[in-house]
């Protein structure tokens, strides 16, 4: 390290806080519930070459795809906009799924930070806006052109002057232009705030640029990850996972190679890309590998370029995890759970104490139509699933993993949209049995009020492929998509909901960890009393006699 460990700590910490402030500004200023309530956004600082320096953790810890996709995309975007083409006040916008986070509603805004006339850093924000046109948040488009508007890297602001052509184009292509414009302005404004704080930092610490700081950050992080990798027995670990796909089963094969020089994940053998919108661009695949590896090996080290350096990710071109343009990609978020599952599955063979069993699939759905006041509405909201069990703990119920987008309160959903929630509750026997039980599934039933039909985009997974348990733990339950209590729907198609139709959705329970028979009987009893495990499951899977429970009930 060129800086002493105290200077580096102080400056690094400040950079993270700048990313936090930038994230907070976006969060507070945003116009859609998916950003403002569910917190699906990210905030980061890059060095002058576009390497990730710091990212917000508290204000904008959205999804790995967004965070890491942006980190990988900035350098590419800067190829189109070399430093000589940029002036203070510029903002570049882009939503290209191949360059960034893998689907079009995630808008990234990047702004150069100038200090004493030269570019010293870039600020970046990424946010899932309410709409990007096309067929909305759907899984059954045939190519990315059908899905949504694609924005190549272009200037949203030219030296503080808004590029009205770009704004006009975007606003003319989306269903809720006011919300989208509001979000874009909130992003640009947040970037500007981040930039100002970076200038202040340089001033305060008497620095001319961030070259030394960034190299120190990268090197120390890289060394820490390499050190952690060197503690894993060298060799090759492979895991195959299967998923529902669109209309036939797909597979992901992850081969993790532990070497002295780093960690390589090879997805050779993974299914080819399909002509429906669940393909994950390489950035998304990269993001979920990086997230899993960092979580398992160096969870506490702030994310930055140095954490990426020891990683190598290979995915065959044209595969589900590295599709060619113009593959449809909008609903790649139903697949990334499986990337994570495959990587943890492989790692479980090497470091079983540092992994998490499979989690259910989060269920995000979008409904659009006409609201009670006769106006167009489009509403995206989420239902959770069970998180996988850990080697020392049960999985969390109703919490998704590895993505981390929150829910929107029922009372807010009902206030801002014509959706009516009938039920939102944990599902008994849904958590995979294990010494540590998988988290319980969270099922939601709703309908659309009013006398007009509405469109629903189903984008669910794990209807046929449950979350697997680890090291002898049992599988979680499967998810469901049911119309009016009895008719299963295709989990990835769009449907028209007639007035009064009720739809029930869930993403499945988390997998268990270690065999169920090893679970402490009092914990099984507690789950039975709480209605999370039935007497039948307790006796069948946990082999715990429920005489005690019957005594308890009699008492």
């Amino acid at each position: 390290m060129a800086l002493n460990p105290i200077d580096l700590e102080v400056i690094w910490n400040r950079l993270i806080f700048i990313a936090e402030e930038q994230g907070k500004a976006l969060y507070q200023g945003s116009f859609s519930t998916i950003i403002g309530e569910a917190e699906d956004f990210a905030s980061a600082i890059f060095d002058a070459k576009g390497n990730l320096l710091a990212q917000a953790q508290q204000n904008g810890g959205g999804t790995p795809a967004m965070l890491i996709g942006m980190a990988r995309g900035v350098k590419e975007i800067l190829r189109k906009f070399p430093a000589s083409n940029l002036v203070p006040g510029d903002c570049i916008i882009c939503n290209d799924p191949w360059l960034l986070s893998g689907h079009q509603p995630d808008i990234t805004v990047i702004a150069p930070v100038f200090y004493q006339g030269i570019i010293v850093a870039f600020t970046g924000t990424s946010a899932h806006v309410a709409d990007m046109g096309g067929r909305g948040f759907s899984a059954d488009c045939r190519d990315c052109f059908e899905e949504a508007l694609l924005i190549p890297p272009v200037k949203l602001f030219n030296g503080n002057i808004p590029n009205t052509v770009v704004f006009d184009f975007i606003e003319s292509n989306v269903r809720v232009p006011d919300q989208v414009r509001g979000d874009l302005l909130a992003q640009a404004s947040a970037n500007k705030i981040g930039g100002k704080k970076i200038e202040d930092l340089l001033e305060e610490f008497g620095l001319e640029n961030l070259f030394t700081v960034s190299e120190d950050i990268f090197q120390s992080s890289e060394q820490a990850l390499l050190q952690a990798i060197s503690n894993i027995p060298q060799g090759e670990y492979q895991k195959e996972v299967r998923l529902d796909g669109f209309d036939r089963e797909l597979k992901i094969i992850a081969t993790v190679r532990i070497r002295k020089s780093g960690l390589e994940v090879d997805f050779e053998g993974t299914s080819p890309q399909i002509d429906r919108g669940i393909n994950c661009t390489l950035n998304v695949s990269y993001a979920y590998v990086s997230h899993a590896v960092k979580s398992a090996l160096v969870p506490e080290i702030p994310n930055n370029e140095g954490i990426f350096r020891p990683l190598r990710i290979l995915a065959p071109e044209g595969s589900l995890l590295n599709p060619r343009r113009p593959a449809p990609v909008m609903s790649r978020d139903v697949v990334y759970t499986f990337i994570s599952a495959a990587v943890y599955g492989a790692l479980s063979q090497a470091v079983p104490s540092r992994v998490i069993a499979d989690s259910g699939s989060k269920a995000v759905t979008q409904i659009r139509g006409v609201n009670l006041q006769g106006k167009a509405f489009i509403y995206t909201f989420q239902v959770r699933c069970g998180m996988g069990a850990r080697p020392t703990l049960d999985g969390l119920s109703g919490t998704n993993y590895p993505g981390n987008v929150g829910s929107v309160p029922v009372e807010i959903i009902e206030t801002v949209s014509p959706i009516f929630m009938v039920k939102k509750e944990f599902v008994p026997d849904s958590g995979g049995p294990g010494k540590f039980r998988g988290g319980c599934d969270h099922e939601m039933t709703f309908r659309v009020r009013g006398d007009r039909p509405a469109l629903i985009s189903c984008r669910f997974e794990r209807i046929h492929h449950p979350a697997k348990g680890f090291l002898g733990g049992g599988d979680g339950s499967c998810g469901r998509v049911i119309l009016n209590g009895n008719a299963p729907l295709h989990a990835k198609k769009m449907y028209t909901l007639e007035p009064g139709d009720e739809i029930t959705v869930s993403g499945g329970g988390g997998g268990g960890f270690f065999p169920a028979v090893e679970r402490a009987p009092e914990l099984v009893l507690r789950d039975v009393i709480d209605g999370l495990v039935t007497v039948e499951q307790a006796e069948r899977d946990y082999k715990v006699s429920m005489r005690e429970y019957n005594d308890f009930k009699a008492h």
């Binding site: 002493n4 700590e9 820490a224």
Partner: protein, 697 residues
């Protein structure tokens, strides 16, 4: 001789203050809290203080008695509350466990959340439903409710939380359930979400109501006990209680809403800072309280602390937002940072030095306490740097061991980092000050404030040691260290007016507001305020009403707080509200969003009694001319400006003369704390022996 008594029962210490309102004399007492029965230690000190002061006729001599306590928070953290049941809308009984369905840490696979206060089998759904406008869609099924109640009685439930969807718009069903419980099981206490916090967003409302129900019986029993003893002693005035929003209220209000008592101690500290700000005529203040484990920072403007309605209790990770149980109450808006005298310095796996949030606490405490602690802490660094006097810690009650501090720092940090003792000690100091600076900046930023124009008021054991350094980093040019800063919370109680606040959700765009609805709910809250404060003996003419609303641009999720005019509102007033919103929005975000509609969410009313002037006893300047200050000699002290150690003058706070002016660098030692004055700072001593420390910008 009218006396006011303030007493604050904290987790470790109980502080008692007696104020003679005629002379302004303060009697300060501090003792260890008796954890089993916290009222015991307080009552013992009060008894003793009564003897010390020589009070005879308590019914005449005690004018008021104000209490703050951590009992409610501790009951939740330690799970010592009552057996609680939850009755909610059928289909939604897991709301309090599913929370916001978000992980507070993206990378921690071993993440944990606090267990809900009500186990699932005591969370029951009942058939009923209202919509977002309060229209009843499905009537309450009384038979089902009755069956649940019978079950609860069988389960020996002591307290019930009733939480229905959209009850903030229409509380009728919750009232029905309460009526039923009162009729069938009057021994069970009831908390209604529509009364505890009638605000939209079910997780926060339900969670708050459950916390309230869980702690209601325990707080009620505790307050009755204290009141009983006080009454037996002859005190006739009613006990009042400090609430988290920086107002005091009758013990009756505290009994109904224990969640409002949660932050009473820290709120007292902020109120003390507000008081000193008013005393000195400063409008903008940063209250900075740094103790053994944490530092707390709060902005105060025009004597009014910043407020928030987001609070969390029982956090799994004390400094991670989202790791606790949500409590939606109005609280003085403090940021709490894992930075205190006991914060431990370590080297992480990147080879960088981290300070806190782990703390050595009081036992074993910092290495220099010599109680067996081996970890280097902030206090150890402060000792090595010469800021603390090993012979005069806590006024000499405790000796610090220089050698232990040196060993700990050199062994655990110096050798591995390859830095010398002074470099590491200074490094600990820089890192902890930087941690506080970052958090403070973030906090001010969220509010659109720039701290440069504020005065930092420092208290707590470590506050005055770090105040100048923190101020410098924040660009603040004036620091103030009050006399007797060690019991600031209890002092704060004495200058806090009676007040109570209310909230109602009425979500509507401003241009579609139904003035009749709005005026009705504002009036309801006004009336409730008059009634509660009236019962406490405040005449209506002395009651101030402050109204606020949370508003945002239509479509946004985050509201800002906007002042609302008093009285019956007209269309004209709505225009005023509109422009006030834009002004406030611009202040925070440096921009507005022209063309977007504005939406109101929650409406709040704060009813306040008159300000109590607290007249402290002043010290005359004797015959000193200001420069004739008695020093305690010099010692070697480290300052960045010196690039090392140099000889610095040391003074005894109690022997300073009013009107004296001291040029920094200097050290001023007090019983509870030490004030470190950096080079370039000048200190003036006022007639109350408070220190005002200023720096040329």
């Amino acid at each position: 001789m009218p006396y006011q008594i303030g007493f604050d029962i904290g987790g470790t210490f109980t502080d008692v203050v007696f104020l003679n309102r005629d002379t302004g004399e303060l009697l300060l007492r501090k003792a260890l809290t008796t954890p089993k029965d916290p009222s015991q230690s307080a009552l013992n000190i009060i008894r003793k203080a009564i003897t010390d002061v020589g009070l005879v006729d308590l019914s005449q001599e005690i004018e008021s008695i104000i209490h703050g306590t951590t009992l409610v928070v501790n009951a939740i953290v330690e799970r010592r509350g009552s057996r609680t049941g939850l009755i909610t809308t059928k289909g939604f009984r897991d709301i309090i466990e599913a929370r916001k369905e978000k992980r507070y840490d993206l990378y921690d696979i071993f993440i944990e959340l606090p267990q809900p206060l009500v186990p699932r089998y005591l969370r029951r759904g009942v058939t009923e439903r209202s919509d977002e406008r309060g229209t009843i869609l499905q009537p309450l099924d009384l038979e089902e409710t009755d069956k649940i109640l019978k079950d609860f009685i069988k389960e020996k439930v002591e307290s019930i939380a009733v939480c229905f969807l959209h009850s903030y718009r229409n509380p009728r069903h919750e009232f029905f359930v309460r009526d039923l419980i009162c009729e069938k099981a009057p021994h069970i206490t009831v908390s209604l979400s529509s009364e505890v916090v009638p605000e939209i967003r079910e997780y926060e409302r339900f969670s708050t109501t459950v916390c309230n129900a869980y702690t209601q019986p325990i707080l009620a029993g505790y307050l009755s006990k204290i009141e009983g003893v006080l009454h037996d002693m002859g005190v006739q005035r009613d006990l009042t209680v400090m609430l988290s929003h920086g107002g005091i209220a009758s013990s009756e209000t505290a009994r109904r809403f224990p969640v409002r008592v949660m932050e009473s101690g820290p709120a007292g500290g902020v109120m003390a800072a507000s008081f000193y700000g008013k005393l000195k005529g400063w409008k903008r203040i940063v209250s900075f309280d740094m103790g053994g484990t944490t530092a707390k920072i709060c902005l105060v403007e025009d004597g009014k602390p910043m407020m928030t309605n987001d609070f969390e209790v029982a956090k799994i990770h004390r400094f991670k937002k989202g790791s606790g149980l949500a409590v939606k109450i109005s609280t003085v808006d403090m940021i709490e940072i894992g930075a205190g005298g006991g914060s431990i310095a370590t080297i992480d796996r990147l080879g960088l030095m981290k300070v806190g949030p782990a703390s050595a606490g009081a036992n074993p405490g910092p290495a220099c306490y010599g109680l067996g602690g081996n970890d280097p802490t902030v206090t150890d660094a402060d000792l090595i740097l010469g800021y603390l006097n090993e012979k005069y810690f806590l006024g000499g009650q405790m000796e610090l061991v220089h050698e232990r501090a040196k060993e700990a720092i050199e062994e655990k940090l110096g050798s591995p980092l390859g830095l010398n003792l002074a470099e590491v000690a200074w490094g600990i100091r820089r890192v902890v000050d930087e941690n506080m600076t970052n958090a403070a900046r973030m906090y001010a930023f969220e509010k659109g404030k720039d701290m440069k124009a504020y005065t930092l008021i420092a208290f707590g054991g470590a506050g005055p040691v770090h105040a100048c350094a923190l101020a410098r980093k924040l660009g603040i040019t004036r620091v103030f260290v009050p006399f007797g800063a060690g019991v600031a919370s209890a002092v704060g109680f004495l200058c806090t007016p009676l007040s109570i606040d209310f909230v109602r959700s009425y979500v509507t765009p401003l241009n579609q507001i139904d003035l009749e609805v709005l005026n009705r709910l504002l009036k309801e809250m006004d009336e409730e305020g008059f009634s509660i404060l009236g019962k406490a003996g405040i005449p209506k003419k002395d009651i101030e009403i402050h109204r606020k609303a949370e508003m945002r641009y239509l479509g946004q999720s985050h509201e800002i707080s906007v002042p609302i005019p008093a009285g019956t509102l007209s269309q004209e007033d709505l225009k005023v509200i509109h422009s006030t919103f834009e002004k406030e929005y611009e202040q925070i975000f440096s921009r507005t969003n022209p063309g977007y509609h504005i939406e109101a969410i929650n409406w709040r009313v704060l009813a306040r009694g008159p300000e109590l002037g607290l007249h402290l006893k002043s010290f005359d300047s004797r015959d000193g001319n200001g420069s004739d200050v008695i020093g305690k000699g010099r010692r070697s002290v480290y300052f960045e400006e010196f690039n090392g150690y140099d000889q610095v003058l040391v003074f005894d706070r109690c022997r300073l003369l009013p009107g004296s002016v001291l040029k920094g660098p200097a050290i001023i030692e007090d019983v509870e704390s030490t004030t470190v004055i950096g080079p370039g700072w000048t200190t003036e001593v006022d007639e109350f022996l408070n220190l005002t420390i200023e720096r040329e910008d």
